[in-house]
């Protein structure tokens, strides 16, 4: 029997995998950046559940605000849609 | 005095938790079911903020209970209350601003409200 805490963790991990898949699959780069934000958000949550607050704060600081900002700037500077 | 076999404080606590669950769930359903960005934004932001307020209130109440029960000696419970209050304050400051920025951005980006007949903002801008 899976305990409730394990269940929470399983769902969060599934969410990480799903959002990572969205990141790869999305052709619209701004949506991919949004999905990446969600991915790092859930990753931070996972670190949090694994009782690693140190890493969770680092992931929050870098993953939530700064990487998204950098990606947005990069997309702004280049083009929005991935084409190949 | 007790309500449903609980002390009034505990009853309030569980009630708050219930409200939190229900409203967060409503926010999620609204996000999924509503037709366009603006209605989704409205549902999601409003309900989840409201739900989160009640969750935070429940936590604060929980800290209060522990603090009172320990004869005001359990400083951890007190810190819980203060920090949760700070988190709530952060949430209350950021959520509406973010929602405003998103709504404004979507409007500027040219997303039309579905089923809307008049768009006064657009008329004003023009």
């Amino acid at each position: 029997m899976i305990s409730l805490a394990d269940g929470v963790q399983i769902v969060v991990l599934a969410g990480i995998v799903l959002s990572a898949l969205f990141v790869v699959r999305m052709r619209d780069l701004i949506s991919a950046a949004v999905a990446l934000g969600a991915c790092s958000l859930l990753l931070s949550l996972e670190f949090y559940i694994l009782q690693a607050p140190d890493v969770a704060i680092a992931e929050a600081g870098v993953g939530a605000a700064l990487t998204t900002a950098i990606f947005i700037f990069a997309i702004k500077g280049t083009q929005r849609r991935e084409d190949y | 005095m007790s309500i449903l076999g609980l002390s009034p404080l505990m009853f309030l606590f569980y009630l708050f938790l219930l409200v939190a669950i229900v409203f967060n769930g409503l926010g999620m359903i609204g996000l999924l079911r509503f037709p366009d960005v603006y209605t989704r934004l409205h549902a999601a932001t409003k309900c989840t903020t409201f739900g989160s307020i009640f969750l935070a209130l429940a936590v604060i109440g929980y800290g209060l209970i522990n603090w009172v029960r320990s004869d005001f000696a359990d400083t951890t419970a007190l810190t819980f209350m203060v920090h949760t209050f700070l988190a709530l304050a952060a949430l209350l400051l950021t959520n509406p601003t973010g929602a405003h920025a998103l709504a404004r951005a979507s409007h500027r980006a040219g997303v039309e409200p579905v089923m809307a007949v008049v768009d006064r903002l657009k008329e004003v801008k023009k």
Partner: protein, 102 residues
């Protein structure tokens, strides 16, 4: 005892997060996805508070504060980008003339 109640609440919240990520995947336009992200942010902050009580660690609430503040910046950046561009994002035909002002 009460900690288990918070665990139940967090179970609900995590399900809501999964539900919101459906909108993240399906959302026809980028603003929809941004709204979904914003919702997930709020839910995660709530979840962090709930789990913080469940584990009974004050520092975990601190992370919730950090996250509430930082996720807001993400939302702002996405909104800032969307303000300038059309939703369809057909980059070829677009001009960047709106930037010239300030």
């Amino acid at each position: 005892m009460i900690e288990d109640t918070f665990l139940v609440v967090s179970g609900f919240l995590v399900l809501y997060i999964l539900g919101a990520s459906i909108r993240l995947a399906a959302g026809p336009t980028a603003p929809d996805r941004a709204v979904a992200l914003d919702t997930i942010n709020t839910l995660v902050v709530a979840l962090m508070i709930a789990l913080g009580v469940a584990y009974y660690e004050v520092i975990f609430i601190d992370i919730a504060i950090v996250y509430a503040l930082l996720s807001f910046i993400t939302t702002l950046y996405i909104a800032r980008y969307l303000e300038e561009r059309n939703v369809g994002g057909e980059a070829a035909g677009e001009t960047t003339g709106t930037e010239g002002g300030a």
